[in-house]
């Protein structure tokens, strides 16, 4: 026993650890294949420092990056029915679900938090790809609804950051019903006169893009993100043609008029703050000196004076 515990086991450990260490500390960029040190990756919000490729960023990273001073409060999400169809493919859905919960420490794919951005109260919901591909089932639908209602309650804008392959197949038609359900959720925000902004990240496809993700008052996309309805493989198999260069990428969508802008993650927070400020503070701040009165050179005619008056009143 002594020889085994004192000699063999440490050797084995050393072997295993040697293989594990680089994996944990270094991440290979999927685009340029260069190695990135984990601290650099975190400091750079998961953007490759070599090629600017935007790697996936989970809920925690998103919140820390977007909220003022990285301070936020998560909200508890409503419980939903688990595995309504008793779904089983090669494995049970409950097993897949548990495994994802254990790995991520989250109950489901959407995480919701509120806090401040540029001093303004905001609610942010992140659909995290690392949880079953960010797929949308009943719990995700309920989470977005909770986020929307919190935004209405706080009179705060709602920002959603989806990364999802689409609807969660294991919940069958009930996941399809989350399309209308989440659309009603964002309608409630819009009807309350609050901004609804979507930051489309890689990937946003299927039932998620065909519902709340494509209905933003403002649609921002992250560089290189795949955004679309059908998967590239399905399209290729249907039409038997090669897909064009950059197809379904954020820049391609911008070119085709489907998003407002493509924003580098480094500028995302500032861009969101600027947009929210423009949408939410439409009048000059109090204390700003009144504009100089311009006297008309010729005596004012009826229409001219009316126009000037209208302009003035709009400023107020």
């Amino acid at each position: 026993m002594n020889w085994l515990t004192n000699f063999v086991r440490p050797k084995l450990r050393a072997l295993v650890h040697k293989a594990e260490l680089p994996d944990n500390l270094w991440v290979k960029c999927p685009a340029c294949e260069q190695m990135i040190f984990h601290r650099d990756l975190d400091a750079n919000h998961h953007v490759c420092q070599h090629c600017d490729h935007h790697l996936r960023l989970g809920a925690k990273g998103r919140f820390e990056m977007l909220f003022d001073d990285g301070a936020y409060q998560r909200i508890e999400l409503p419980n939903s029915i688990i595995d309504p169809l008793k779904f089983r493919d090669r494995r049970r859905y409950t097993e897949r679900l548990k495994e994802a919960q254990n790995r991520t420490g989250e109950p489901d794919a959407m995480v919701v938090a509120h806090g401040r951005m540029g001093g303004m109260a905001v609610v942010i919901a992140v659909l995290d790809f690392s949880f079953l591909g960010g797929s949308m089932g009943i719990t995700v639908g309920g989470a977005l609804l909770a986020a929307a209602r919190l935004a209405v309650l706080q009179k705060a804008p709602l920002i959603v950051v989806p990364a999802s392959g689409g609807a969660r197949m294991q919940e069958g038609v009930l996941s399809l019903m989350q399309l209308p359900r989440t659309i009603i959720a964002v309608e409630e925000v819009k009807e309350a006169g609050l901004p609804y902004i979507v930051v489309l990240s890689d990937p946003t496809t299927g039932g998620v893009s065909a519902s709340f993700a494509m209905l933003g008052d403002i649609a921002i996309a992250e560089p290189g993100a795949i955004i679309g309805f059908a998967g590239a493989r399905v399209i290729e198999e249907t039409i038997r043609e090669k897909l064009p260069e950059g197809f379904q990428r954020a820049e391609y969508l911008l070119e085709h008029g489907m998003v407002d802008m493509v924003v580098h993650r480094r500028q995302l927070r500032d861009t969101l703050i600027r947009i929210l400020d423009l949408l939410r503070s439409p009048t000059p701040p109090a204390g700003r000196p009144a504009p100089p009165q311009v006297e008309p050179e010729t005596p004012a005619r009826g229409t001219g004076a009316g126009n000037a008056g209208a302009r003035k009143s709009r400023r107020r």
């Binding site: 639908g141 197949m169 009930l174 996941s175 955004i227 043609e241 897909l243 197809f247």
Partner: protein, 318 residues
């Protein structure tokens, strides 16, 4: 019968035998006539046996049966003065999605649906019932037209899904579907939807976020095709049959999940055997649903419709 499904083979063979006997019996042989009556009764019995116990995968086959009545058949039989309206006013006319004004059982309505086509030429013309963004944008335009003039909306859903193509993606397939669902939930007029064949994913819910959703007995409704589901979860499309079981996509499943309001019975042996009967049954069910919604305030209709879809969280399941 030019088209029959694998599991219908014994029935079709028996029917061929009856047909043979009919030719022989032209002489008026009483024994043959008796035999024919006996065989016909057997056919009915076999049809009932088979169709009462269709498994989900067989239902998928029936729902896709080419002889099943399609949108145009329903409109021809149920709608007077049908006046098709074309185009999305932005890019194109999509013939996979048909819609227009017409008179249904006395009501002036807007009726919209997916058309799959009946032969090779018309199937190509209608793109096999798979709409592009223009189709959903047209549907949206027509729903708003109905809203503007206070006309009820009827939709007939029969699509394997939205078309997956380069142009469709470039012109915003996902956005078009999302907006179409949004409009379904916005209008302040009675809205009845019937799933008459395939209710395929986003392409189906785009027309089916309605006050009352009806479904034919052997129609299917699913978040993904069994083939697509199998190729993702089983990593092999050959497992479609298992996927069809797992997805719980039958009309009977839909009713117990609270997704639909009523199942419309099909004639013995499915809608493709007696299309006229199936169409009439759907007509009756739509009329009954419209009657229930008649007279309700537009705001109430809309609020109730939203409440119904907000509650789609699988509660109340056994």
């Amino acid at each position: 019968m030019p088209n029959f499904l694998d599991f219908e083979k014994p029935i079709v063979e028996l029917e061929a035998k009856i047909e043979e006997l009919r030719h022989l019996s032209d002489g008026g042989d009483i024994n043959i006539a008796d035999e024919m009556i006996r065989l016909k009764a057997k056919v009915d019995w076999m049809l009932r046996q088979t169709y009462e116990q269709l498994d989900p995968w067989q239902k998928v086959q029936v729902a896709r049966h080419p002889g099943r009545p399609h949108f145009s058949d329903y409109v021809a039989a149920l709608v007077e003065n049908f006046t098709p309206l074309a185009g999305d006013r932005a890019y194109a006319e999509d013939r996979a999605m048909i819609g227009g004004l017409g008179r249904f059982r006395g009501y002036s309505v807007v009726i919209i649906g997916n058309e799959k086509g009946a032969d090779t030429e018309s199937r190509v013309r209608h793109n096999f019932g798979m709409a592009r963004p223009e189709g959903y944008r047209k549907a949206r335009r027509l729903m708003r037209l109905a809203d503007q003039f206070g006309l009820p909306v009827i939709t007939l859903v029969d699509t394997s899904g939205a078309y997956p193509g380069i142009g469709a993606e470039e012109r915003g397939q996902a956005e078009a579907i999302a907006r179409c669902v949004e409009t379904c939930l916005e209008i302040r007029v009675p809205f009845v939807s019937a799933i008459i064949g395939e209710g395929g994913s986003g392409g189906a819910i785009a027309l089916a976020a309605a006050d009352k959703v009806l479904m034919l007995e052997h129609a299917i409704y699913s978040v993904i095709s069994p083939e697509g589901c199998a190729s993702i979860l089983w990593r092999n499309g050959d497992h479609a049959q298992e996927a069809a079981e797992a997805l719980k996509l039958t009309a009977q499943n839909m009713q117990s999940l609270g997704i639909i309001d009523a199942v419309v019975s099909e004639p013995l042996g499915g809608a493709h055997r007696e299309p006229a009967k199936a169409i009439a049954a759907v007509g009756e069910a739509i009329e009954a649903a419209l009657h229930d919604l008649k007279g309700l305030d537009g705001g109430v209709l809309r609020a109730r419709r939203r409440e119904k879809f907000l509650k789609m969280e699988g509660k109340g399941l056994s």
